[in-house]
């Protein structure tokens, strides 16, 4: 059983990589992979430079830059896990064959997300390197709290993959134009997770949404592990220690994993009942 899952995961990861990368030559693929995130961060850098007189030393600059850089993972893992299921159903029309094959579809989907994760990691690394080299981002590899960083990344990516599975299964049951769902959730989280501004800036009645999202805790942990003391300039999570934040993130990840398993079974049954496994909505 475990061996079969491992084989499914490996094959799906390789397939995902081929789909993502083999449409063009390596140079254009590299440009494609980094141009989008770099542009996205440049918008924020220019917005900051136009207004702020304080230079990149201001803690808010590092806050915005890091949050935006690591948010790449949300699009890469969460939105694209849900997108993979539609891609297979509607574009390549192979989902029905995957369903009759002796594999676990959730394992296959998580495997498909690996390629995006790798590409996302490359984009994050290049964005951070550009931040250090050109924009004075105060990051030093020697000062990074690696254990905290590794733990928060593992939990963060696991929660993103779980959310991706929920969205992917849900999109299976949407008849018309299911493509927007992953993107819509990613866009909403961009606003509510404190990715590019502290949650305190949001109106008070919207802040609970941010506190209910695992991404908020994950991004805070990543900032603390990478920036050290500079991350403590904002009051949102100041009352919580690193350990408490990790604990909250771990609990949320666990709950999300359970929800993902239940939701996948539920939506999968609905999709089978309604004959939606091989439907083509509007491609």
């Amino acid at each position: 059983m475990l061996r079969q899952h491992a084989q499914t995961f490996r094959t799906a990861a390789w397939l995902g990589w081929q789909i993502e990368s083999n449409w063009t030559d390596p140079l254009l693929f590299f440009v494609f992979s980094v141009l989008k995130p770099i542009s996205s961060v440049l918008i924020l850098v220019f917005m900051y430079n136009v207004v702020a007189q304080t230079g990149p030393g201001d803690p808010i600059f590092a806050f915005i830059y890091l949050g935006n850089a690591f948010y790449i993972y949300v699009g890469a893992v969460m939105a694209d896990t849900s997108y993979a299921i539609l891609d297979d159903r509607e574009r390549y029309r192979t989902l029905k064959y995957l369903y009759v094959a002796p594999i676990s579809v959730p394992v296959y989907l998580v495997g498909r997300a690996v390629a995006r994760f790798v590409i996302g990691t490359l984009a994050v690394a290049i964005t951070l390197a550009a931040g250090v080299l050109f924009f004075g981002l105060p990051i030093s590899l020697a000062r990074v709290d690696w254990p905290l960083f590794t733990a928060s990344m593992l939990l963060g990516v696991a929660s993103l993959a779980s959310l991706g599975l929920v969205l992917g299964a849900w999109t299976l049951t949407i008849r018309n134009e299911p493509w927007f769902l992953g993107e819509a959730v990613a866009a909403a989280m961009y606003l509510f997770s404190g990715a590019i501004f502290p949650l305190d800036i949001l109106p008070r009645w919207l802040q609970p949404i941010g506190f209910a999202l695992p991404m908020s805790y994950w991004l805070e942990l990543v900032r603390r592990s990478v920036l050290g003391d500079a991350a403590a300039a904002f009051p949102t999570f100041a009352a919580l220690s690193d350990g408490q934040l990790l604990l909250i993130l771990a609990a949320m990840t666990l709950v999300l994993a359970v929800i993902a398993a239940v939701a996948f079974r539920f939506f999968d049954r609905v999709a089978r009942d309604r004959g939606l496994i091989d439907v083509v909505s509007n491609f």
Partner: protein, 285 residues
């Protein structure tokens, strides 16, 4: 004689020349103006998603304590993203989708011109997107109390019209080129989103690029269009503008004519290639 009054054995009325051109434009614009409004998911994704991004950028300005005029800049930029999304996904990539769905061979075989089909797409898209952009603008302005001070409605209307003409002309050119790219079209459309938001200064004044860079960015009609519109609708706009509004109007007029002429040329090349080689419309390419 209208078709409904004609005897059943009578030959159908054949339209040619300008009448055929105009009927094609209307026929292709119809699904954009009417049909798209019937698809809530599209309305949602083209209105709600740019709005969320706009709100995010407004809060970034709030976080760095920017003057209020920048909030207005972000709201206007957010509204204009709807047009760029429409041009990229529903103009540039459209012929590629049509090829995938099997409509492109029908377009090429039909006795009408590709230019009329593209023009219909552009007009329909422009009208439908204007509604969405207006929703983002009104909602954003209301939520964040953006203070408008329009200095000239005539110039504002002229800037908007010329920007849209040039922009959709560019969309037609890209549509022809993307058809040649084949499978890469989707990826390239996706890739061009954020870079254009950045280069065109959707969320900040392009004056801050410096003259040479801002001039280079002005090849995209939205760059100058938004700069001129910001100068015309915000009290502090002129102080943050790149070029004077009359000059930007002149450049936009030249761009509008040039892009439409180039689009016409590109489409005729595509049409000829499709007929000669017979492979351009092949779904497998």
């Amino acid at each position: 004689m209208s078709r409904s009054n004609a005897a059943p054995w009578a030959a159908p009325v054949k339209f040619t020349g300008w009448r055929l051109f105009l009927r094609t434009v209307w026929a292709r614009a119809y699904p954009r103006i009417i049909g798209q409004q019937r698809e809530p998911a599209w309305v949602f994704s083209e209105t709600f998603l740019p709005f969320l991004a706009t709100v995010g950028y407004v809060y970034v300005y709030r976080a760095i304590r920017a003057p209020e005029v920048y909030i207005g800049f972000a709201v206007m930029g957010g509204a204009m993203t709807a047009f760029w999304l429409n041009v990229m996904w529903s103009m540039s990539a459209q012929l590629y989708w049509d090829k995938e769905q099997g409509n492109l061979p029908l377009y090429i075989m039909s006795p009408t011109s590709l230019m009329a089909i593209m023009l219909g797409m552009a007009l329909g898209g422009m009208l439908a997107t204007s509604l969405r952009a207006a929703i983002i603008l009104v909602l954003g302005s209301w939520l964040f109390q953006v203070p408008f001070a329009v200095s000239s409605f005539v110039q504002l209307f002229a800037v908007f019209l010329l920007t849209m003409t040039a922009l959709y002309g560019l969309g037609m050119i890209l549509g022809s080129l993307f058809l040649l790219f084949g499978r890469d079209a989707w990826q390239i459309t996706n890739m061009l989103q954020e870079p254009v938001y950045f280069v065109s200064g959707f969320y900040f004044p392009i004056r801050n690029f410096g003259f040479a860079l801002a001039l280079g960015a002005s090849i995209l009609p939205l760059t100058l269009g938004m700069d001129a519109m910001r100068q015309l609708v915000f009290a502090d706009g002129p102080a943050l503008g790149f070029l004077s509004v009359p000059l930007e109007l002149g450049i936009l007029a030249v761009m509008a004519v040039a892009f439409i002429a180039l689009a016409r040329l590109c489409l005729s090349v595509i049409e000829r290639k499709a007929r000669e080689e017979g492979t351009l419309t092949d779904r497998r390419r």
